[in-house]
Each structure stands twice: as C-alpha cells, then as structure tokens.
Point group: C2
Chain length 285, copies 2
C-alpha cells in the first residue's frame, strides 16, 4: 500500500506570507505543503482537532494558575472567504469556554472618536484563552486604504503603529497568528450567487459586497502591503488559500497547534499538599 | 427487533423542579423520562446536537436581522457536578460565535460595591445569542444563604428580586432555562479523589471544596428554596441528575432545543431585491 500522503512541509513554512511571492500570483485553489485530498483533509482535521483541544485545555489550566499567556488568531479575508466558517469549524474544535471571539465591523460612532486601536486593545484575549478576531486592526489598512477613508498620510503611518502594538502584545505574552484567507474572484461570485439562491443564506448577503468587486486588485495591493510591512517572526502573516474550505480549516488548525506547542506548556503543579488533601477527603463526611 | 427506547416523557416535563418532589429525596443516578443507556445517550446527543446547531444558527441569523431575542442557560450545581462539562460538551455542539459564556466566581471587591445583580445584568446575552451562565445570581441565595454571608433579612429579599429581574428579562425577549446539576455526595467524593490522583486535574482541585461537604444538607435546603420560590413557567428550573454525565448533557441539549423551538423562528426575509442583486452580480466584473 502506498504511503499515505499529507503535509510535506509544515504549514508554518509552506503558508508563510513572506515566502510565497506576490499575492497577485497566488492560486486560491492550491494546497501549499499538503499532498492530499478532501477526504484525507477531513480525517486529519478530526484527528488534529483533538490535539488542538488538549493543548487549549492546557493553556486554560495554566491561565487559571497564574500564567498570563494567551494566543490570538487574527482572521482577515475578502467577503465569502470563510472567516465565519473558521470560527465555527476550527474554533468549534475546542472548549468554547477557552475562546474569546470578537468580530470587528464598521466602527461605531463611539469607536471613531478614538484611535483605531482603541476597540482592538479592549478585545485582546485574557490569560489562558485563544482569542479570535474576525476582522481586526488590519481593516484600518485594507478597506480604509483602498477607499482612502482617511488621508493616505494617516493610513501610511498605521503599519508602524500596528507593528509596535503587536510587539507589545507579544512582549506581554500573547502569541499572534495572522491568517489572510484568499478566495478567487470567480469563487466569490459563486458563493455570493449561492447566498442569493438559498433563503437560509439571504441573511449573509450584503449588496455592498458586490460594490467591492471592482476594487479587487486594489485589495490585493493592500494585502501585499501588510505582508511586506507587518509580517515578522514575532507576529507572522500566513496566506490561506480558501477556495477549498476543507484545506483552509485544516491549515489554520495546524497553525494554532504549532503556536500552542511553542508555549511549551505543562500541567500546573498542585499548590496544595496532595497527601494531606487526600486524607481530608477520606475523612470528610 | 424491539422498539428502540429513548425519551418516554419530554425532558421539559420529566425534569421540571416543581414536579419532582423534594430535592433531598432525588436520585442523582436516575434518568427521569429517559429509557436508554449510555450508548443510546451518546448516539442521541450527536443526532440532537445537529438539531441544536441548526436552531442556534437560525437564532443568530435573526439576531443579525433585527430580532432582539436570546436564550439564557443558567447552570448551578455543587462542585464537580459537571457545569464545565456542559459548557464544553453541550455549548461545544454549536457555533462558538453564537455563544456568550460567562462564569461567576466569588464577587470581586468592585462587584461587592454594587447590588448583587449588577454583574449579572452586564452579562445577559446579546440579541441572537445563547448565553450560558456558569454559576449565576443564584449564588447569592446558595452559598450566601448557607453561610449567612449577608444577614438573613437581606438574602430573604433576594428571591423576590430575582423573580422580578427574570420577569424583566423574559419580557424583553430572553428565554430562560435554569438547570441545577445534582450529583450525589459519594459521587462528589469520587470525582474530587480523581482530581487528587491525576496531575492533569490538580488545577481543578480546590481545598475549599472539601470544606463545603459538611454543609451538604444545608445546600439541599437552599436549592429546595430556589425551586419553591423561583420556578415559574416563564423562567423554569430543571433538576438535572448528574451522576451520569452522558445523561446530564443529553438532557440539557433537549431543554435548549425545546427553548429554541419555542421561539418559532424562520429564516429572515431578504431586505433587498433578490432578482436585481442576481443581475448586478452577474454583470459585475
């Protein structure tokens, strides 16, 4: 029997933005570093999901025991790229109590009265949690840049501000994993069309999504800029091909596992005398 | 082949506090209304979990479309009764984005400066969400009553305050499902002992849990009081036998399904012209 295929290169290497070349040439149908089909992907996701769940519990246990570390998954992507599906199908692999999920839509009037990181800082994950940002501070250099919602002089400065913010986060114990889900323009058309065909999907459709399609190349340029300027070993950007949903889920599960393994966690030691407590319990009514 | 067993009486009836008689006589090994074993329970949980997930998505979709309703699951129970397991294994059945989970520990100094409902009000689920309270405002008439942490004259008044609070919540669109997980005193000893045997469980052990065991009957009396005074059709209390974890999970899944079905939700109608949008999409680059 032939050797079972799978990851030929770790996802942390095969999907790292800085190694992938121009985003404009990227193939959203591809599965970089992975040699296998949908069935194998689904099987592996179940298997690796258990590993992720165990690591999440370990992180949570340490958070309860005074360790201040956390993990933050930042999700960006064009409409229909599947950010919500990642929250559901990758986030859904672990104890929901250990998650801290925050979606960032259009800023509210109150949020606009503050600097762009104000709402982000309030939402960083507490100790022991896996935070998930469904959109993030990168919105402020993606649609904001594409449409010049603030003057270029202002958004130009944000890349450096973001890098400083993320450096601070890392320094205070948050491991950052940034994933850009990349869907093809044709696949987006198919997915939007599906939302218009199925009454159980109407609620996900927003006419404004069509308005953005003519700006596709500008968005790719804006993504290229964040990869060029905000991809560092401390807070890496990964490019996730998203035409095949099974692959994007498996890939992000692997990236989270890798981030959690990097924390080298162990079960917290007992902060009580184990034998004395056993005796007390045995003697208790 | 014999007819497959299962629920003989709906969980909403068989587990309703007011129909079950004194809590002191309740058998935590029992499975009221359910005729089946662990294997059937596990099989049903998977099957019914999908129903729950679909209903949760429907609730979420409506929340996104202007419906203000929500569901709130209140979990109470002695230590080791399995509240965390319910969050993980029942909450884990649905999209984590649709959950709003809040645990209530010992009140902080800031919380103690406010009335006992202050921290509760801040945590009620937003529109479209399933909220889960891991402990709740009932702590203020359970340990607080057992140990007279406030004078009796004060905790006596809280039952009425709680009823008013819950009536308001229901009136503003929150469906409340209250579950008391009841474990036997011997089973608690077994579970505490396990936490003292396994290094991966030490972090869950708290020596104070043993301190509470001599007050077991006082706790049962305090539970009886909340069932007598705060179980209403609008905000019902259910008693969940918790010695068999597979049963408590299945039972609470059923209670949530029933609560969600009671909302009679449909997929939100499109708030745009479907045909016009299809045309726009087809014509878009």
């Amino acid at each position: 029997m032939a050797k079972k295929a799978g990851w030929t290169t770790p996802a942390t290497e095969s999907l790292r933005a800085s190694t992938l070349g121009p985003i404009a040439d990227f193939d959203p149908e591809s599965t970089p570093g992975f040699d296998g089909d949908r069935d194998l992907g689904a099987e592996l996701l179940t298997e690796r999901g258990e590993v992720l769940a165990d690591l999440q519990e370990l992180l949570f246990a340490n958070g309860r025991s005074g360790d201040h570390r956390s993990v933050l998954l930042v999700l960006q992507g064009m409409d229909t790229a599947g950010k919500g599906g990642i929250v559901r199908h990758v986030g859904g692999l672990v104890d929901p109590q250990g998650l801290s999920i925050k979606g960032f839509g259009k800023p509210t009037p109150e949020e606009l009265e503050h600097d762009f990181l104000w709402r982000i800082r309030k939402a960083v994950p507490p100790a022991g949690r896996i935070g998930i940002f469904d959109r993030s501070h990168y919105e402020d250099v993606l649609p904001v840049r594409v449409h010049n919602l603030v003057p270029q002089s202002e958004w130009e400065g944000r890349y450096a501000t973001i890098n400083e913010f993320e450096d601070d986060l890392v320094a205070t114990g948050t491991t950052i994993v940034k994933c850009a889900l990349v869907v093809s323009k044709e696949e987006q058309r198919t997915r939007l069309a599906e939302r218009l065909e199925r009454p159980d999907k109407y609620w996900k459709f927003n006419p404004a999504d069509i308005d953005e399609r003519p700006f596709w190349d500008d968005y790719l340029a804006a993504y290229q800029a964040i990869f060029d300027r905000c991809d560092s070993d401390a807070a890496p950007w990964y490019v996730i091909p998203a035409n095949k949903k099974w692959f994007s889920r498996l890939a992000i599960c692997e990236l989270l596992i890798s981030a959690l393994q990097g924390l080298d966690l162990e079960w917290p030691k007992a902060d009580f005398d184990i034998e004395a407590q056993k005796k007390r319990l045995a003697e208790s009514v």
